[in-house]
């Protein structure tokens, strides 16, 4: 079953007189439960595509349909509400709040949902346990290694139990060992919890974990042989 569908998506930016069009009439269908790796050279529009799916950017033309709903016309607030429940986003630079502990960082999206304090605490601890950092709950990001920070970020992304996990070069700032840990985590989320995952990377070793690979180049999306 198709969970995410891009229909004739174009995105262009004006820079002075020149217009660049990283995405030019892109079509894509992502099945529920898929683990998709999006590859391509730097500047090819991978992040842009991911941001369109997350509803944090808007296409110049075309539609983004998630779970049968066209999200392209939604207001920023409606997209935000939807994202809290439906999308977990993992950044290359982790983007944890430096002033909050690991626990508090994971709690941040949960504060947006109506639930008891006890329930919230339970969900935070479950997420931290999932990434193997229960013992670091009270640590601040500066007290964690890069790999640990990214795992906290993954816990934050899954805390609200969203159907979709989007990760933009999640291993880009990590050493090989930490990268492997993070990828194993994502594989587990996909295989055991059934999360639909779209991961942007230009690392062939990373994309090897995915069940489906796509190449983005010169505005076009090409299926790569698995």
């Amino acid at each position: 079953m198709t969970l995410i569908a891009l229909e004739k998506i174009s995105k262009s930016y004006k820079k002075g007189d020149t217009t660049i069009t990283p995405l030019d009439g892109v079509d894509l269908e992502v099945d529920e439960g898929a683990f998709l790796a999006l590859m391509g050279p730097s500047g090819s529009g991978k992040s842009t595509l991911l941001n369109l799916v997350a509803g944090i950017d808007r296409p110049s033309a075309g539609k983004v349909i998630v779970a049968g709903q066209d999200i392209t016309r939604w207001s920023e607030d409606r997209l935000a509400d939807w994202r809290t429940r439906a999308v977990g986003y993992v950044f290359q630079q982790f983007n944890l709040m430096p002033v909050l502990t690991a626990f508090e960082n994971v709690e941040l999206p949960l504060l947006l949902l109506p639930m008891s304090r006890a329930q919230r605490k339970k969900q935070v601890l479950t997420a931290l346990e999932l990434v193997g950092l229960l013992d670091r709950a009270g640590h601040y990001p500066r007290q964690l290694s890069g790999g640990q920070e990214q795992r906290v970020a993954i816990a934050r992304a899954v805390a609200t139990d969203p159907q979709i996990i989007l990760a933009d070069e999640p291993t880009g700032n990590l050493d090989r060992e930490s990268a492997t840990e993070v990828m194993n985590l994502l594989v587990g989320l996909n295989a055991e919890l059934g999360k639909t995952i779209v991961i942007v990377t230009h690392d062939a070793l990373v994309s090897a974990y995915a069940s489906r690979k796509l190449h983005l180049d010169k505005g076009e999306l090409v299926e790569a042989s698995a």
């Binding site: 944090i56 920023e76 607030d77 935000a80 509400d81 709040m97 909050l100 941040l108 947006l112």
Partner: protein, 375 residues
């Protein structure tokens, strides 16, 4: 609309030094504003409160002030003959140099009669000793030492001071809270005339039974062509003096505005640095699902909290000023800090917080999520 409040609070705490410095500068601005207002209010209100509603003050025609008025003894007799007033007292009022322990200080001396002094100045009461009789005696106001810039012991009962070529012995101390009488020296009026080699009084004070009687006597005096004087209610006399000080209020207002502007700049600077440095964090909050308005509002609250903390510190310090005497060339006044002033000060602090955050908040308000994340 959910706010990431803990995040905001932690952000303030994380930037301890910066936050503390800002709170301190806001507190200073608020404190100084309170001081300016308390000063001008002290001045104006003390002057205004000096007049008693039942008193009529008679000056020579055209004179605006006791210092520039001369009433001869004949007119005093005429006024005494105007029956029906419980008390009539001729006074001499001089501003002169008073030598205390060899040092000369400018002081204000009121010559009056011990028998009528407290009846006419009903806001005054004796604290110790007695009122001055003939023989170059002196009673000192509670703030006279402050006014003259000497230690209270220099004006203790039994001490002597010199002015107008005479030595005067202090026999009593009185207070007249929140009036300018409090910083005066009182002597017998005839001693003053003798010492200054004058025959004219400065003014005649009439104590009336009630407000209606006060009005009646003013009306009657206006009709008397044989007694050519300028009479007015004592309230009005000091009201005019108070109004003459209104420009001081404007000065206080202008200085307050400048201080507030300084506070705004300090707050703006802090919030600008703080918010600009956290543009990406704003982007992350938006990605997590926080609404843009909520995030911007939480930044405003951060600034507001900081400025209200500064306001609280400033108000606490300001409250300590209440009742403190201050000496200015016009006399000695007490600072007046009341709830209204403090409420205004807190409103000012809030204003500083909101305006200070507005510019940096508006700067990031229109940034797209993607642009914020790229920061």
């Amino acid at each position: 609309m959910k706010l990431p409040l803990r995040y905001n609070l932690r952000s303030l705490v994380e930037r301890k030094t910066r936050t503390a410095m800002t709170i301190l500068s806001i507190a200073t601005a608020i404190f100084l504003s309170i001081m300016m207002v308390a000063l001008s209010r002290g001045l104006v209100e003390t002057t205004r409160a000096t007049g008693s509603p039942l008193n009529v003050i008679v000056l020579s025609q055209g004179a605006e002030s006791m210092e520039f008025s001369a009433i001869d003894a004949e007119i005093v007799h005429h006024l005494q003959a105007l029956s029906g007033q419980p008390l009539v007292s001729a006074q001499a009022y001089i501003s002169t140099f008073v030598a205390i322990g060899g040092v000369e200080k400018r002081g204000v001396v009121r010559g009056l009669h011990a028998t009528t002094a407290l009846g006419i100045h009903d806001n005054a009461r004796l604290l110790e000793g007695r009122l001055p009789n003939r023989g170059f005696e002196l009673a000192v106001g509670n703030l006279a030492a402050t006014k003259l810039g000497v230690a209270p012991s220099a004006l203790a009962i039994g001490q002597a001071v010199d002015f107008e070529g005479q030595s005067w012995t202090i026999v009593g101390r009185f207070e007249a809270p929140n009036t300018i009488l409090d910083s005066e020296l009182w002597a017998d009026v005839d001693d003053i005339l003798l010492a200054t080699k004058r025959s004219d009084y400065s003014a005649v004070m009439l104590r009336t039974k009630d407000a209606k009687a006060a009005g009646d006597i003013l009306f009657a005096l206006a009709l008397r062509t044989d007694i050519r004087v300028g009479a007015r209610a004592e309230r009005e006399y000091y009201g005019v003096k108070a109004r003459a000080m209104e420009p001081l209020r404007s000065v206080a207002l202008v200085m307050t505005l400048m201080l507030v502007l300084g506070g705004i700049l300090a707050g703006m600077n802090t919030m600008f640095t703080s918010i600009s440095g956290r543009t990406r964090e704003m982007g992350v909050l938006l990605v997590l699902g926080y609404h843009r308005r909520a995030v911007l509002f939480s930044f405003m609250l951060e600034s507001l909290a900081m400025c209200l903390a500064g306001g609280l510190v400033g108000c606490t310090a300001g409250l300590l000023l209440n009742g403190l005497p201050m000496k200015i060339p016009m006399g000695v006044f007490r600072f007046v800090v009341d709830a209204q002033t403090l409420a205004m000060a807190m409103a000012l602090a809030a204003f500083i917080g909101i305006v200070g955050a507005l510019v940096p908040v508006l700067r990031v308000a229109r940034l797209s999520v993607v642009a914020a994340l790229r920061d």
